[in-house]
Symmetry: D2
Subunit: 292 residues, 4 copies
Amino acid sequence: MELGLVGLGRMGGNMRERIRRAGHTVVGYAPDSESADVHSLREMVDALAAPRVVWLMVPAGEATQSVVNELGELLSPGDVVVDGGNSRWTDDARHAEELAAKSIGFVDCGVSGGVWGLENGYALMYGGEAEHVSRVQPVFDALKPPGEAGAVHAGSVGAGHFAKMVHNGIEYAMMQAFAEGWELLEAAEEVTDVREVFRSWQEGTVIRSWLLDLAVRALDDDEHLERLRGYAADSGEGRWTVEAAVDHAVPLPAITASLFARFSSRQEDSPQMKMVAALRNQFGGHAVRSSS
Amino acid sequence: MELGLVGLGRMGGNMRERIRRAGHTVVGYAPDSESADVHSLREMVDALAAPRVVWLMVPAGEATQSVVNELGELLSPGDVVVDGGNSRWTDDARHAEELAAKSIGFVDCGVSGGVWGLENGYALMYGGEAEHVSRVQPVFDALKPPGEAGAVHAGSVGAGHFAKMVHNGIEYAMMQAFAEGWELLEAAEEVTDVREVFRSWQEGTVIRSWLLDLAVRALDDDEHLERLRGYAADSGEGRWTVEAAVDHAVPLPAITASLFARFSSRQEDSPQMKMVAALRNQFGGHAVRSSS
Amino acid sequence: MELGLVGLGRMGGNMRERIRRAGHTVVGYAPDSESADVHSLREMVDALAAPRVVWLMVPAGEATQSVVNELGELLSPGDVVVDGGNSRWTDDARHAEELAAKSIGFVDCGVSGGVWGLENGYALMYGGEAEHVSRVQPVFDALKPPGEAGAVHAGSVGAGHFAKMVHNGIEYAMMQAFAEGWELLEAAEEVTDVREVFRSWQEGTVIRSWLLDLAVRALDDDEHLERLRGYAADSGEGRWTVEAAVDHAVPLPAITASLFARFSSRQEDSPQMKMVAALRNQFGGHAVRSSS
Amino acid sequence: MELGLVGLGRMGGNMRERIRRAGHTVVGYAPDSESADVHSLREMVDALAAPRVVWLMVPAGEATQSVVNELGELLSPGDVVVDGGNSRWTDDARHAEELAAKSIGFVDCGVSGGVWGLENGYALMYGGEAEHVSRVQPVFDALKPPGEAGAVHAGSVGAGHFAKMVHNGIEYAMMQAFAEGWELLEAAEEVTDVREVFRSWQEGTVIRSWLLDLAVRALDDDEHLERLRGYAADSGEGRWTVEAAVDHAVPLPAITASLFARFSSRQEDSPQMKMVAALRNQFGGHAVRSSS
């Protein structure tokens, strides 16, 4: 089939490649991109035969909204837009509504895979009406990993990004779990070879996982991670997971602790711990460390 | 080689079977067990040629201490005792010292594998002197999974149980991570097929893991887990992990949250939330729910 | 001065009384209220001489928005609206903008005091332009407790509700702190009189506080809180505090833990702990408790 | 009455002064102290008429154990030892047993008050047999604050230190609560005067408390706490509270979060966040910050 693809960054570019390898035609567009196949959204739309499918792989928020707006003007009734970016699930219903007003379909799709996706396939979680999803199915089939798993029609519009968001929340807590365990093992004088302990866990244990494999790979490269700083960014999905939990009154202690650990990791000095130090000083005359 | 094995419960019995399949001789003993090969520790010791290796697979604490004491009387200089049970790592140094006073070696070994170990192999983490570990190596090789990973000499005495304990702490937080994500997905009206979302994650995602495979298996059996109560026991290892963290001043927010979630799950009614309700009532006249 | 007051519930009714005791004129309105002084917003507005001050004490969200909309039609340039309800601080900028378009001023005010406010005074935190705040000052002075503290101009529009929201977040964690301590003391067999321990803390300790006084009062009424269920509601402010923290990348582990404890307290059975139980069962053959 | 007092540090010295002001005789001893009244434990014991009461105010652990051992040799049947230091409650039963073997009584006493105790009185929580407690009562009455509260016979031996330990656990979480709230307010651009917000809370709010008063005092001295580092020590009691909770299967999420925040505050760089950064790098090619 033919696909319009907007956004040719690291993710988008690799996805174009994987879709083409499956025999489909991709017309890729990105502003100011040397690898673009066309020079404007209009040119991309004109290059596709109706009914069209256009996949967005652009930053969440204003950038995605802007492309949705433009496509609303350019596309025709019966076309379908897929948002494969990291949009917040609450944006999806609005986009679907705006496009539905012009009889254009909308599917949201969470994509996982990172730098490994081109070769191994991308895990896909999508939401929308069955009629729209079926139009995109050949592309989903091209992108997903081989095997039975790796792609799911998770529910109505928004379900794809919601499921991807929860995936990332789980990922945060799993990473935190290995990180906590690693720090504790490194602190124990009895344990003299933490890297080999991690390696041993790759077979026969309850915690064997791809993240464990990656941890071993990282430790093989830098046994005590001395070349890194304990500084971790966070993406929107981790924050949205906590907000979704608060909205639904679902307790998420481990995932939230993982997000907060990242927040703390980025502070040069902790304001709240200054207050704790100040209070200790007030009531107990405890020594404090002055900033200098 | 020959091995004495004390403890023939679910774990011990299967381990005997796996060691025998590898061609070794196992003399198994357990009090009041129909499957025991001998009828007393003394008989077991007499059945083995010196220098002997005796593996304990009995409950941690008093039961293990009692067998260590008895073996201290029965064994000979040059023999080696392996504690493969779930002992607290702080017990190991004491056991090693007590046996060393009689020139008997000691190795501690954390064992992971559960009901899957007989067929797939057991993950092993052991601590002790190289000389003692090498004496047990053929048994470790028989028990471990095929492949390069699955067994590690983690350090000095205590390192094996410490590493296994941390494994379990990580396991707690990983289970909690999937559990939190599952509850949040179930709460989202957009997501209509949570089980299929979980299944899809088995390929191409960052969180693919054996625990995820088990979650899918559980959901295949009972899609909304309606046949279970939200009640989770905890073993010593989870608690010891938190205590070790406190001892070493290592923050473990996700693992500790996972332990506390289990504590809460076992309370019919939460005393602390009664106090919160009482305080709300005092200052705000908020309605409280009376117990009836 | 004259004040229009919209909303005569438990809070609004008592506030009217306290303002009148200070010698001011209050024209109170609430739909379908027997204690209303007038029968419509229009009647209330007509009863006040311009420039007017109208204080809202109605539920946050749609109800407040609706009254703001109506007052925008009824009031005159130079009038000032005060939102003393529990609005989310993000609503304030919108309300201020909508009213400013008609040259009507806006002040947001967080109010703390509960059932004790009538006699002891209400703590007030307000935000807005100095010119608008000064118009309301006599009412603030009437409502606040005696003494120097108890009222603050916290910053620009939204600052009042933001400060009140954070107050409530702190309150959550303080209540949780006492609640956790109480449960632990009740669990210790050495401690035979937990209520008297709490009472003793009211003098000379670091933790003496009004909440401690309330805890003692509650325990005097029901020593082991046997007449209560461990069930605690939460208001919007606790949730918004966590969301504000996520927005600002500020780690709030204790406050968030307190919110999540309330979420858990309201679940008959915990879905996430069902998943933990299911996973334990899968890998270990651990006994699970069936729901029956 | 007469009292022997061992330990004349900041706490012990002030306590001697307060007891003397109440008209009692104190014979104070501390090794190498210029302010000691006698030069040895033996001299102290000889200076007191039997039956004696000796109060220990020395560091927990080995130092306290050593003095208990010595006093066991020096004192006579019918004497009473009071441990007013910060001993772990689990030490108390052992000390009581050792002294009981010589017919010497034992009372444990948690003391709160810090630098304010001399003037305001010390909050006291004590455990032991009524017969022994009554012997110490005049000293308790001298040390405690005026008013009805401030001292409690909490239960059997160990109950005093247990109650004080829980007091400190609650204190940790209350300090954390104010600290989190302060950081969030400082992060909000709407709130322009955080110090005045804190000051306003001292009247009429749910969170008014001595700790809040101390926070205001600290902010008056250094409005944005710029002269402090976000570095907070922790004492044994916070850790023991968490361990006691783990022993009793009581969930303490807020108190534990407060302890872990202190652990993190003391790390130059977080090992666990290095692992999180390493994992992000592995799966996503996310930029990491190298240590340099």
